[in-house]
């Protein structure tokens, strides 16, 4: 038996699954001040049986998302080593930062050296501002982390109490700004995150739960709880990923579908193509923060069941924010859920309370509650339709850099819409009708997010770059090796792939993952200087694909 728990902004959902059957599910309100309480609450509801039958637990938590959205940051500073290039004033960081001399180019060559005195002076400036955590991030540091490492050594000597994290340890992907952000976010949140993980472990121990426990990442992969501190920021936006994977498990294999996850405050959209949730081409952007975190392609609209209805310029419109619970459920203001209640699209709560909340709107516009409710719903459906079309267009317009990719473009047009979350069914039906899609919704859609978490498996998509001229290996997760004896001046594609797999397998082992990695794509660039070949750059994209751990086949 396996358990999946998704701690969302409004509700915490849980499921207990055995042999592709959801045996039990539950939903409790999330206490945003005490996420652990919600998790424990769900666990207790699910675990009437003896706990030793549980084979694994996967938790998806909104903690990192909350910390970033609420900017609950520990005092963090950044030392940046940009070298020549873009003026950093063109970017904004939510942390104090200083620039130091030094530079590395795209090939990992040091083009400017450090200056120890300057480092001490600049770090002192940050310390004077009260920082306790320091990120050191160099441009192109994944291609050569030595300047970051040297800077850290100097900082450790002069400021031994500072907690230091290096950019290449956080991500090896190219994007200096996002790497700096990711490093800052890690430092600014890791203590809070560590506390949460410790108390979660404690709570499980108290209940004699000894099975493996995993935390869900934004790309739908899982990390063993003991390794999660290396991946804290990767847990941001794991909720929408859980929903998308849950939707996948509720659909027939190889289906393409739009996924619409309607919560209280927002609706998240994602895309499943031929049975695979679509990954975003760039890292997560959450409010105005650009991160290096790999995630599914998720789009959000500020429309949900608790979105308020108001009148502006004599027109019915939405407030685009949560106005507390719907009036039919005891709230004070009319919401989208109340619209659906009035139009008999849902039987949630008390219809009279919903109608009561519409009185002032009705009298202002001199229109019946039904008409106002219909207009508000139309507006929501219109905006959702636009968003779904936009997501699809974005996927189609994803830039491609190779001829073969342009020649082999997939021509998929999803014909299904699966709606999940509380007010999913009525809204999903309206949107599907408008877009001429087949609507999929059954009772398990209410807890699709928890199902997605329960079934999630480790997934990876990484890149290894081998420069045979410099005999260096770098990678998208920050692994770097130089003067490697395994590199020959000229390597065949098979040799390069073999070496890449060897390195990647070691990385998987370190993360406690037992899975068979695959090569996704591989290319080689001849380096020609003058008119002769001086080396090669092998770029190998590899990873662990999404494992289908079994579709859910509960009878409806």
């Amino acid at each position: 038996m396996q358990i999946g728990i998704d701690v969302g902004g409004t509700f915490t959902d849980g499921v207990l699954i055995e042999n592709a059957q959801v045996l039990r599910s539950c939903k409790v309100p999330t206490d945003s001040q005490a996420l652990l309480k919600s998790i424990v609450h769900v666990l207790e509801k699910l675990l009437e049986e003896k706990t030793e039958k549980i084979s694994r637990i996967v938790v998806s938590t909104t903690l990192m998302t909350n910390l970033i959205l609420e900017k609950k940051y520990l005092p963090t500073g950044l030392i940046l080593i940009p070298g020549p290039g873009l003026n950093l004033k063109e970017h904004k960081f939510p942390f104090s930062w200083e620039i130091i001399t030094g530079g590395v180019d795209f090939q990992g060559r040091i083009i400017k050296n450090l200056n120890e005195q300057e480092i001490v002076k600049k770090v002192q400036c940050l310390v004077d501002k009260g920082i306790q955590h320091l990120g050191i991030i160099g441009k192109f540091s994944p291609r050569n982390p030595s300047l970051e490492i040297q800077t850290a050594e100097i900082v450790n000597r002069h400021f031994p109490t500072l907690e230091v994290k290096l950019g290449h340890q956080v991500t090896g992907q190219l994007n200096f700004i996002r790497r700096a952000m990711g490093t800052g976010l890690y430092l600014a949140t890791y203590k809070t995150f560590a506390q949460f993980i410790a108390s979660l472990k404690n709570a499980l121990k108290e209940r004699d739960i000894t099975c493996p426990v995993f935390i869900l990442k934004a790309d739908g992969g899982v990390i063993p709880i003991d390794k999660i501190m290396n991946f804290t920021i990767d847990t941001v936006l794991s909720g929408p990923a859980a929903s998308s994977f849950g939707a996948k498990s509720l659909l027939p294999e190889k289906t393409s579908a739009f996924v619409m996850d309607i919560g209280g405050t927002t609706t998240d959209f994602s895309l499943i193509l031929d049975g695979n949730p679509l990954l975003a081409s760039r890292g997560v952007k959450i409010s105005d923060v650009y991160t290096p975190v790999r995630s599914l392609a998720i789009h959000s609209l500020p429309i949900g069941g608790d979105t308020g209805i108001e009148i502006k310029n004599n027109q019915v419109t939405l407030t685009f924010k949560r106005e507390g619970p719907p009036a039919c459920c005891g709230g004070n203001t009319p919401t989208l859920t109340d619209c659906m209640r009035i139009l008999n699209l849902t039987d949630l709560g008390d219809e009279n309370k919903a109608r009561l909340s519409f009185q002032s709107l009705s009298s202002k516009l001199d229109l019946s509650a039904e008409i106002i409710a219909q207009q508000a719903l139309d507006k929501a459906v219109e905006l959702i339709t636009q968003e779904i079309n936009y997501i699809f267009k974005q996927w189609q317009e994803e830039p491609l850099y190779r001829i073969w990719q342009l020649l082999n473009e997939k021509n998929i047009k999803p014909r299904n819409l699966i709606s999940i979350g509380g007010p999913g069914k009525p809204l999903g039906e309206l949107v599907s009708k408008k877009m001429n899609l087949t609507h999929i919704n059954h009772p398990l859609c209410q807890v699709a997010n928890a199902i997605g978490a329960a079934l999630a498996s480790p997934t990876y998509e990484e890149t290894i770059r081998i420069n045979t001229e410099k005999r260096e290996i770098s990678s998208s997760w920050g692994y770097f090796s130089k003067n490697s004896r395994q590199i020959k001046g000229k390597m065949s594609a098979e040799e390069a792939a073999g070496l890449a797999l060897q390195i990647f397998k070691k990385y998987l082992q370190e993360n406690g993952v037992e899975a068979q990695p695959e090569i996704y794509h591989q290319e080689v660039f001849n380096m020609v200087r003058g008119w002769s070949t001086t080396g090669q750059i092998h770029e190998i994209k590899l990873g662990v694909p999404v494992q289908v751990t079994g579709l859910i086949n509960n009878k409806e």
Binding site: L86, E90, I111, R178, Y290, R402, L406, E523, T533
Partner: protein, 443 residues
């Protein structure tokens, strides 16, 4: 006015002329790295577009492909041209305020009649985009500024008779570099005299020199010409590290002239210092287009001493600019019969060297003298080697042709189809947007 800068990046990581050729997979690899690492694509005011294929019709509107379309064009060429069109179209629709087609393979050595690859180019991306925009949206007056170190002889050839297209090329003196043309006496044909300006610069010219040329010649001429669109053929081989040429321009220099020119559309041309120039130059011009600070971009190899021009060179550049500006100012007051004679058709013969594919083409070009349009153009073109190589006849009716040139072009096509003296006869009818061959006539 849109606030966005458009970028279509197509590095063609799976295409090379040959494994060690400068035009190989590696060429834009480090440019990609630099743009990614700097986070340029995260700027909310920069939009990245997906590369697109051009249609066959888009190519044949601009070129005669000999012996056939399939012999000259590959997928890579269609994508480069299609991407230029895409940026042009986005600009037209005001989705973007300016844009950069950072694509390969390049195109500015590809001429009106193209037999294959010369100077790494098969088809002319800018010309194809221009003719597309003019055909679809009715633009007329276009200015092209070619800042590649090589003379943009293909672009010059395509628009040499077009009075509405101002072509300005600055380049290393043709006596010292491929393709060996681009001298100041190449000023346009009889119907477009003065609408081609060539600025041959001495080897060793750097930032100071080219900035002077922009300030004192190119910008004033553009100011007077008042084009509807300014296009920059953005070759990057004027860079001080380029392996194929001998100039001294820096990435910052490229950024500054981009800022000065403020082009609507840029299209990448040459530039083969894949490590030492391209990542920095492409970053500088992208930032300059987007109105961002590029002053902190500095190549590791850069030395202060490179930045100053010799006084002899500055003297040469000043005189050159004065001379060309004088020509420009007087170009409408010239007695053209002294240069082009009085015949109805002005006819020239030349040999064109296809350096990459290694053959020579013999070509006769006849343009109808016309005061109402760019004039009907008729080419006879054949590959030189071997006696058996056939001759092709190519008739081009310009896009804004007068009725007389249109009629004469159609009549000539029918006549030549009947006479059957040529291997193939083509009619490129730009006003009607058709491309016909002898086979269509008989078919």
């Amino acid at each position: 006015m849109s606030k966005y800068t458009g970028l279509v990046f197509f590095p063609a990581f799976d295409w090379a002329i040959s494994p060690t050729h400068p035009e190989r997979e590696e060429r834009l690899l480090y440019t990609r790295d630099q743009l990614l690492e700097e986070g340029v694509l995260d700027f909310p005011d920069i939009i990245e577009y997906k590369a697109k294929f051009a249609d066959k019709q888009d190519i044949l509107r601009t070129h005669f492909c000999l012996p056939s379309f399939e012999n000259v064009i590959t997928d890579a060429h269609l994508i480069a041209a299609g991407s230029a069109i895409l940026i042009g179209e986005a600009w037209h629709h005001r989705e973007i305020k300016n844009g950069f087609a950072l694509v390969r393979p390049p195109g500015h050595h590809a001429m009106h009649v193209t037999h294959g690859n010369r100077g790494f180019c098969n088809i002319n991306n800018e010309a194809i985009m221009i003719e597309y925009l003019r055909k679809k949206f009715g633009y007329r007056k276009i200015a092209i500024v070619d800042t590649d170190v090589h003379h943009g002889d293909g672009t010059q050839d395509i628009f040499y008779h077009d009075p509405d297209v101002l072509f300005i090329s600055l380049h290393q003196d043709g006596r010292t570099l491929f393709p060996g043309s681009g001298f100041i006496n190449e000023l346009g044909g009889p119907n477009a005299y003065g609408k081609t300006l060539n600025i041959p610069l001495l080897p060793g010219t750097g930032d100071q020199g080219i900035n002077y040329v922009f300030d004192n010649l190119i910008l004033p001429v553009l100011e007077e010409f008042k084009p509807e669109i300014i296009i920059n053929s953005a070759g990057q081989d004027n860079h001080f590290t380029d392996p194929l040429a001998n100039m001294k321009v820096t990435a910052f220099g490229y950024g500054s002239i981009t800022k000065k020119l403020n082009p609507d559309i840029m299209v990448l041309e040459g530039g083969y210092a894949v490590e030492t120039a391209l990542p920095y130059v492409n970053l500088a011009i992208t930032l300059a287009l987007a109105g961002k600070d590029f002053s902190q971009i500095q190549e590791p190899q850069l030395k202060e001493s490179m930045l100053k021009e010799t006084s002899e060179n500055m003297e040469y550049i000043k005189k050159l600019c004065e001379k060309l500006y004088l020509i420009w100012q007087n170009h409408t007051n010239i007695d053209l019969t002294k240069i082009f004679g009085k015949d109805d058709y002005y006819t020239t013969n030349r040999q064109i060297f296809y350096d990459t594919d290694y053959f020579i083409v013999e070509q006769e070009e006849a343009v109808r003298r016309c005061s109402d349009c760019g004039g009907l153009i008729i080419f006879k073109s054949r590959r030189k080697e071997g006696r058996k190589n056939p001759t092709f006849l190519c008739i081009s009716i310009p896009i804004y042709a007068c009725p007389r040139c249109q009629q004469e072009g159609k009549d000539r096509f029918l006549q030549e189809c009947r006479n059957n003296n040529f291997e193939q006869v083509f009619l490129q009818n730009k006003p009607e947007d058709t491309y016909l061959t002898k086979d269509d006539y008989y078919g």
